[in-house]
Amino acid sequence: MSMMIRKTWAIILLAILTCSCTRQKPPVPQLNTENFLPKVRANIESALKAALANPDDAATVGKLGMLLSAHNQMAAAAQCFERARALEPKSFRWTYYLATSQTDQEKSILILQEGLQLDPGYVPARLLLADLLLAANKLDESRSEYKAVLEAKPQSPQAQYGAGRYYSFVGDTAKAATHYRKAIALFGQYGAANYALALLLRQQGKKAESEEYFRFYEQNKTTAPPLEDPLQAEIAELNAGAMAHIHRAAELEQAGKLPEAVLEHSRALEIDPKLVQAHVNLISLYGRLGQIDKAEQFYRSAITLDTKQADAYYNYGVLLFNGKELARAERQFRKTLEINPYHAQAHHNLGFLFEQKGDLVAALQEYEMACNSQAAYPLARFHAGRILAAQRNYPAAIAHFSKALQPENDRTPSYLYALAATYVRSGNRIEGARYAHLARNAAASFGQSELMASIDHDFPGLEKK
């Protein structure tokens, strides 16, 4: 049978399965919103009322579905979208939303295929379809979809990555690598593409190159290229839950946008004034913005709402520490540890306070407890190593400095330098020189000229190696 006839058959069968019969109109869903947050409940109940009053208006029923979807009520949302689609069969919007609210991937595929006949140019839908087809082992169909996106949008990193996955599936590693490389060329921080390429190169025995991509992956992990999906963006905007604002605030904070993060927290508190997490986070955010009065105000409100929030005491402790109120800071860190004895940062900060008071035994104990609570804690390792080196306990100091080298950050050159110096003091000049060399290279890669100068001063001749 020719390809043409097979395609015709497929379309007809699809039509039989999905279109030809009169579409069932499920009722507007019954909802129990009793325990919902008041603002969320008000929004949903208002939309529900409208949908019940106008059950044959696709826009009204669909709007309810969008609200439900925004609050992750996917079964009820799917019911609304199915009704909206039955009322307005030519609408791509309801079909797309229905496809994305399914738990059954096979159903999603059928609905998306139908939807794309209504709007063949909606790239996020086509990409989703390609991904789902790949997951369902429908490889040829998946390849066609990725190909279609790449023809329309050759600069789509997602489609390049998807095509790479397809070729990886069918065992064509050369083509897979080519597509992964293209995806990375288009969006360098693409975590999934870097990971896939690293694994592929490892399989091919290209160890050095694979290490490079593993490193890129570790730097970016879940970072993905932005995908313009206006229809899903409309849904995201409808999330009236306080936690949605907290999540957005966390992203803004990570991006260094502290005032914007404060604003998102304020929005969260407008919705739920008793959301302790927002109060706790605002202690830290206002502290870092230098608005001490505000930070104190949120500390008080946080512990009024919940006296057992370890991070409220910790954040306030940091604020006091930065304000040089060391005795008060110490009390806060102690309180933190009463609630959570494994709070690594509180142990570390307490260690630092003890060290400032000259109590090195207590300081070392706290640093080591910080390391026990959080093994990958380079700064605590470094401080513990310093004290031990000063006490001439070189093997223990070396053990801590060695463990401070992971995960790598801009302080790593200093840790390498400390390790080098400790080796030399312990009498092992060869290891000392080796680590000094590594420290110098690392300092150079981070542009730390002062540290380089110190290393050159203490280890003359290294720069010539």
Binding site: T8, W9, I12, L13, I16, T33, N35, F36, L37, P38, V40, R41, A70, H71, N72, Q73, M74, A76, T103, D104, Q105, L134, A135, A136, N137, R165, F169, G191, A192, N194, Y195, A196, L199, R202, Q203, F214, Y217, E218, T222, G241, A242, M243, A244, D272, K308, Q309, A310, E338, I339, N340, Y342, H343, A344, N372, S373, Q374, A375, A376, A399, K403
Partner: protein, 556 residues
Amino acid sequence: MTVLKLMMAALPFLLLTSCVKVTQAPILFEDSAAAAGLNFTHVTGATGEYFLPEIMGPGVALIDYDNDGDLDIYLIQGKSFDGKVGSGNRLFRNQLKETGKLSFVDVTEQAGVGFVGDGMGVAVGDYDNDGFADIYVTNFGPNVLFHNNGNGTFTDVTKQAGVNDPRWSTSAAFVDYDKDGLLDLFVLNYVDFTVEGNKPCFSTTGERDYCTPKAYHSVPARLFHNQGGGVFTDVTEKSGISSAYGPGLGVVTGDFNGDGWDDLYVANDTAANLLWLNQKDGTFREEALRSGAAYASDGVARAGMGVTAGDFDGDGHDDILVTNLTREGATLFRGNGLGDFDDTSLKSGLAQLTSRFTGFGAKWFDFDNDGKLDLFIANGAVTRMETQRGKPRPFEQTNQLFQNVGGTLREVSAAAGNAFQVAGVARGAAFGDIDNDGRIDIVVANNEGPVRLLLNRSAASMHWLHVQLDGGPLNRFGVGAKVELRRKGVASIWRRVSTDSSYLSAHDSRVHFGLGSQPEVEELIVHWTDGSKESFAAIKPDQIVQIRKTTGKLTR
């Protein structure tokens, strides 16, 4: 051809495909807990504060504690944080050998193992090589090591053994990582949750719900080296195990890189899974990322809960399966025996089949005795399910059974009996032949619910063989040894002795071989952990055989 004609032509095809059936032997698991007197209901004492440990337990162990040749059952109990609810763990003795009928009697009090705590999981191993299996209980709070006195009683030896961990421990495994013939102990910890520091978490609708582990900091695992004389040393730092960690929930041991030394694989919840490769000098190196077993193929960490390792595709190498959260699907890492893994979850179809469930306990096991490893997954949600709103426990899901058909896993839950239609909040699952009929049974531990004893009634006509190893004075139960079964004209079947894997649970230490309709066993080769081999020929099927190291004897 017109469109109408094409449509008419399509109809018979549709009718035909809808009628096609696959002929197969009946698959049946029967919940026989009540009939066998296994009366136990797990409680959490939840008060509406949504303390995270409430939703995570419990585990279960299959252990022949009295060496009478049948498997007894040790069940982990929860406790409310105000101490008002919780009756302690229970030990049920199997009376099969003495009465000829499968029935259980609660012997907790006389055995002295009714520890009352915020119980999580259990590991089983004979750490002092006295021939009696001992029990290690993990808790939210101090853990407990029960030494089996060999007379039906146990003694709490946690303090003198030095194996306590006061943090929130989850799964644990006995493993002889340094080949000194003494079982060491690897204990996972989860997060730094404290009752005092309980954080309020909410669903997207603002309803109170259980937090994810991300609300807390993860806590490192602990490795205890068995020094002999009933004493362990904490070698967590020295061994390198503390250098990487996440919220650990599942652990499985195995020689994943084929160097003859046991490695450790850890399933972490919302963080990279870990593969600790044994460096043969008392240390481990973490290699999950570079081995391809840290993440699914998209590089995104899943909510790893349970884990199992086994050669499901019959290529002689262990494949690792990790159970995850709803919408994530289970991850199937196919191993090449050299420490490299390939995520084949999508290719195998398993990701799709499991994506509607939150999986916990899981294990490769040959339920139909056809020589190929099948799979069971115990399911139950951890956060409110929208479709169960209004129910007091909106976390219930059904369990899943997958049959291995020619290296492909096919879900057969719907055909496996009513036990697979009953929803619950399943967590731990332990596997073993409880009624000694040659078929592997399952005990499922439900959170805030009754224990299920799923007796395997499938494939009665198929042949089988159980092998119990006795390592003599060292590594008594042969943990880590591999048993190879050879038959004419077919590939060897490899099985490894262990009690770990799944979730919070411990299993029958006997290795099981399904022989299908071909009863002849040409040769059975035991590859002991010290590198020595012993071979036995012309073994009759359908029996339990015991092999004692260096004696060259195989007994029934």
